[in-house]
Amino acid sequence: MDNKMEQLRKDYTDVPIPEELDMIVDGAISQSLKANRKRSPKYRWIAGVGAAALIFLVTINASTTVANALSTIPGVGKIIKVLTLKEYVVEENNYNANIKVPAITQLDNKELELGLNEKYMKENKALYDKFQAEINDLKKMGDGHLGVDAGYEIKTDNDDILSIERYVVESAGSSSEELKFDTIDKRNQLLITLPMLFKDDHYIDLISANIQEQMKAQMKADPNKFYWVSGAADVLPTDEFKAIKKDQSFYINNDGKLVIVFNKYDVAPGYMGAAEFVIPSDVLKGDLVSHKYIK
């Protein structure tokens, strides 16, 4: 028996420690230190209350107020803005949610504005309802941990382009991250889609080939990086990145470059997080409809 226990112990301690561990540990520590520093005293107080469930809905009726304020300043024309319309907050012992709903204002194309804002509201409401349902399930099953953090980030805001990123990070043990993008042509008040930038479907191959090259180059330059790309070690053929989707997530950055985005787990193991690739405009130039957006 002792002998066998020794054998079991050896099996356990023989599990090799991956090289990435150090990087991941350091990254997680510095990331969470940063998050701690950012927390306001109020937030800390709420967290301290712990067991007490606090649910609040903050509705900022800023849209009309800000619109009026802006229109009264002489010389300032219509400024397209993104505001936080609503915030869902849940703070319980093991469950927390923070969902911020963005809203776009001051678009002349009211149909587009309304369409986007309705989409944001609906998706976030659905997320909140799903979170509530999952909490109830978990409570029935015993207990667990669940967190949802959703919000938005303005990726680009210049005279021509407004790109909004919306993120949803769900954590229950391991965390998943989902990103969605909307890019608006401010001058023509249009929602830009990926296919409409190009003459034909050829862009799928152009971009996919370029991303594969970038993945390989990054892995070569930094052994801590890993993508599921053909030629990399231990990649299942089913996991391999072959091509982007026709309507792959993207945005246009401030330099007028196309940026292709993949969610966590899409093209790389979880520790790599979401992946972004800036596509050199040279690669695309043969297939671009115009250089209006992509420069």
Partner: protein, 168 residues
């Protein structure tokens, strides 16, 4: 101010035990990527909920408890979302089997109900004292003693079972 001090203590504890908690996470999920994810999430959870650590002296068992819970949550969640197909199971286990010197023995431990397996792991592989094991699992010392005794019984029965069946 007090928080900064505890933060330092926790950071030191995490760095000191990172390899141990990686192995612990690995013992649940049996693959590198998920084990790394669990370690990452556990660190984040611990660091950002540091005010819940009531007694800084118990930092190690507190952190281990988070790792254990995170791993369990992970298994529960993934059971719901991704059932493994045969292809995946084969792909995951192909390399691993070569490493085990005694597959049957290894399976004996993994076949134990989780509450027994974890006490063996913490007590014998992580060299924790009974009261530390109790703190990690949030149980009282007597419960852990009983569970450990039962775990050893089960393990012994199973180990003795193997060969005797073959003799028959």
């Amino acid at each position: 101010m007090l928080n900064r001090k505890t933060e330092k203590l926790l950071t030191r504890c995490i760095r000191e035990h990172k390899e141990n908690v990686y192995r612990l996470a690995y013992s649940y999920v049996k693959n590198k990527e998920d084990a790394l994810d669990i370690v990452q999430d556990s660190i984040y959870k611990a660091m950002t909920n540091i005010e819940l650590l009531k007694n800084p002296e118990a930092v190690k068992s507190w952190f281990y408890r988070i790792v254990v819970n995170t791993a369990l949550d992970f298994l529960r969640r993934n059971k719901k979302v991704h059932p493994m197909d045969h292809e995946m199971i084969e792909a995951h286990s192909a390399g691993a089997e070569d490493v085990y010197t005694d597959i049957d023995l290894k399976r004996t431990l993994d076949a134990l109900p989780e509450k027994y397996r974890i006490v063996i792991v913490l007590r014998y592989f992580e060299d924790m004292k009974i009261d530390e094991v109790a703190a990690v699992l949030d149980e009282n010392v007597n419960t852990i003693k009983t569970r450990l005794y039962q775990a050893l019984q089960l393990l012994r029965v199973k180990m003795d079972d193997g060969p005797s069946k073959e003799i028959k």
